[in-house]
């Protein structure tokens, strides 16, 4: 994510400085403000709080003389091994142990050398003493900010050059000379990477012997050119890029134009920055370059390992912000939502209670009607079961009497409940005549007429039939058909 503003912090005792750079108006960058600490103490709060809030947009500048640049050809190895090797080299050269150094490096992807059959890559590394860096970093922390990067001014300036004026460094090697009030250095590099940097001597005459001093600088430049040619990764310098304090830089550029064989370019990095009235961007070029680098990101960073904000800490910080935002947002939602919902619900419940009371009254009436209705249904069921139509037994008996011939005499008649429902009629009787034919004919006629009678239903053949002779009171022999018949009484409607 591209940042909108970058801050550069330089702690140098009473000469500490902080400035802010943002996107420019018509120029690549804009110097928003710059403050020297002791000079404007009443404004310190505002600026300090601003850089404390913008901790991820702050770069801290180290003095160039405290940072070493080294270019070596090394065989391919892992990043960890490479780091250990570079710190070992530095410890050998400068003393101490390898743990006393902080290193950051880049392996040149484009250039490799073959020596003794072994493939090697050009590695550019920057070093600084761990204690020195920690001292600067702790100083920044006391101000309430944790810089995201620490680097020397020449790296910031070199990156500014590459980023904004790539045409200057095209076509071969170059030497970038910076003549500032506090720092003076030169860097040698090519299109891909820096090769070396050197601190230039100060003008001890205080400007009195300027010509002589400029001559010394020219000699330093020529030496550096020679050194670059002799180095393992040889560089042919084609351009001399001069920048810094206008007076001194102009004079050196003029001198070099006359003496040097390379093309001389007077580069004005301060022109890349717009500024308000009274501001002098050229007096803080290194800090401006570093702050502008925040907007794009840095290739090198000498931040101590415990100062680097890990992915976890970044995630934690973003999570904290997200959770805080969520908590801040959810609270009114819960509070207002809960209260409002509760209010609406209570209103509903109040209305519902009134409706419930009304419904309870109506339901009580309905329940009473339901119970009454249920009782009526049971009454109807009882009426259907017990109060049903009579069997009209009298009519059936009358029907039987009408159909009974004179020869038939009943001995017994029983009416009882049939197991299948209804009434069952059992008739026991006799048919008596002078001869058997008449008695039998009378019985059969009676049987046929009962079978046709719709008030009765024949369920079975006669239970008992006996044909025999018998003597009457006068001693005459009669013929007799004794029988037992059984019918279901259907009803008198068949009459």
């Amino acid at each position: 994510m591209k940042k909108n503003a970058g801050y550069c912090l330089s702690l140098d005792g009473d000469d500490s400085f902080v400035l802010k750079v943002g996107s420019g108006d018509g120029k690549p960058y804009k110097l928003e403000w710059a403050r020297r600490f002791p000079a404007v103490p009443e404004n310190l709060d505002r600026q300090t709080s601003e850089i404390a809030k913008s901790r991820s947009s702050v770069v801290q500048l180290l003095p160039g003389q405290d940072v070493s640049l080294m270019t070596v050809m090394l065989p391919g190895m892992s990043s960890k091994m490479l780091s250990a090797s570079l710190r070992g080299i530095m410890a050998n050269e400068k003393g101490g142990s390898s743990d006393d150094w902080i290193v950051d490096f880049k392996s040149g992807p484009g250039r490799s050398a073959v020596k003794g059959g072994e493939s090697r890559s050009r590695v550019t590394a920057v070093f600084a003493g761990k204690e020195l860096v920690a001292g600067h970093w702790n100083g920044a922390r006391e101000l309430g900010c944790e810089p995201e990067a620490i680097l020397p001014g020449y790296l910031a300036l070199e990156q500014l050059l590459r980023r904004n004026n790539p045409e200057i460094i095209e076509g071969g090697g170059w030497i970038l000379v910076y003549l500032g009030k506090k720092e003076r250095f030169l860097c040698v590099g090519d299109e891909e990477e820096l090769l070396l940097s050197r601190i230039l001597p100060e003008d001890l005459s205080g400007g009195v012997e300027e010509e002589e001093y400029l001559g010394k600088l020219v000699v330093e430049i020529e030496r550096s050119n020679f050194f670059a040619k002799q180095a393992e990764s040889s560089i042919e310098v084609r351009r001399l890029v001069i920048c810094g304090e206008p007076g001194m830089a102009d004079k050196l550029a003029n001198m070099l134009s006359e003496k040097a064989s390379q093309e001389v370019v007077r580069w004005r990095p301060e022109d890349l920055f717009s500024a308000g009235e009274g501001a002098k961007p050229h007096s803080n070029v290194l800090m401006l370059a570093a702050a502008a680098g925040v907007l794009h990101g840095f290739r090198y960073n000498l931040l101590p390992p415990d100062g680097r904000r890990s992915v976890c800490s970044r995630v934690r910080r973003k999570s904290t912000i997200a959770v805080s935002a969520l908590a801040a947002g959810i609270l009114p939602a819960l509070l207002i939502g809960g209260l409002w919902t509760s209010r609406v619900q209570n209103g509903f419940l109040r209305d519902a209670e009134e409706r419930l009371n009304d419904l309870r009254k109506r339901s009580a009436l309905a329940a009473e009607a339901y119970v009454h209705n249920h009782a009526l249904k049971e009454c109807q069921a009882n009426i259907d079961e017990f109060g049903g139509g009579q069997q009209e037994l009298a009519k059936v008996l009358g029907g039987i009497a009408v159909r009974t011939p004179g020869k038939i005499v009943f001995d017994a008649m029983d009416v009882g409940n049939d197991p299948g429902g209804g009434l069952r009629l059992t008739l026991r009787g006799r048919s008596v005549a002078r001869n058997g034919e008449i008695a039998q004919r009378a019985f059969l006629g009676f049987l046929e007429s009962l079978d046709r009678y719709k008030g009765l239903k024949k369920t079975r053949e006669p239970l008992y039939v006996e044909i025999a002779g018998e003597e009457d009171d006068e001693g005459k022999t009669n013929s007799r058909v004794a029988f037992t018949l059984e019918y279901l009484i259907v009803g008198g409607k068949g009459e």
Partner: protein, 217 residues
């Protein structure tokens, strides 16, 4: 040093603001938002139960319109008929007198009339209201209990069964007339048994008639 103390004071202020904000948040959350949300959640349960009760009562009220209409339009006639067919238990002497009058009007004399017990083999021993106590009955009793309905005015639907034994000597014609008269009695009667046997100068009749009465409480 003055600058440093200013910076530290700023940092402390920041920390104090953060702590105050967290405390204020907790205060608002635990004293304001959480009770409000809990209240709303509890109300959800109350609304659900209230809605269910309203729905149930509304259904009952709607059904009640139908029940009331049925009771209004056919209830009285049905109850009158029921009371006619199944008078109260204590009114059964009226039936005895009625049957005796019928016998007398048909010239049946002598005449015996007595109430007998119903044997278990004839389905006796249980009242006709001995029905299974099913779910509908349980629901009904719950409704009666819930709405405290007065059921004393309602007809008793649990009928008791009684049996009359009638014996007399007559002829076949009188028997038919007597039976026809009994069939015209305006209450529920059911012939259980009729036995007719020849006798000197006529027939001997033994009858058993079942009748039903509402229980007397």
């Amino acid at each position: 040093m003055r600058n440093l103390s200013t910076i530290k004071s700023f940092m402390n202020r920041r920390r104090a603001v953060a702590v105050t904000a967290v405390m204020a948040w907790c205060l608002l959350f635990f004293l304001g938002a959480l009770p409000a949300v809990q209240d709303a959640l509890e109300n959800v349960g109350r609304i659900r139960s209230t809605s269910a009760e309203m729905e149930s009562l509304a259904e009952m009220s709607a059904a009640g319109v139908w029940f009331e209409a049925v009771v209004l339009y056919s209830g009285k006639d049905l109850q009158d008929e029921y009371d006619r067919l199944f008078p109260k238990e204590k009114q059964r002497e009226e039936l005895f007198l009625h049957i005796a009058r019928l016998a007398k009007s048909n010239g049946i004399d002598p005449f015996t009339l007595r109430e007998i017990a119903i044997l278990p083999s004839d389905g006796g021993g249980e009242d006709s209201d001995t029905e299974t106590y099913d779910a509908a009955e349980e629901e009904l009793s719950l409704i009666v209990e819930q709405f405290a309905i007065d059921v004393s005015d309602l007809p008793d639907t649990g009928l008791r069964t009684f049996r009359l034994a009638i014996g007399f000597d007559a002829d076949y014609g009188r028997l038919m007339n007597f039976i026809e008269d009994i069939e015209s009695v305006p209450r529920a009667l059911k012939l259980h048994r009729l036995s007719v046997e020849p006798a000197t100068g006529g027939i001997t009749v033994a009858m058993e008639i079942d009748y039903y009465a509402q229980r007397a409480y």
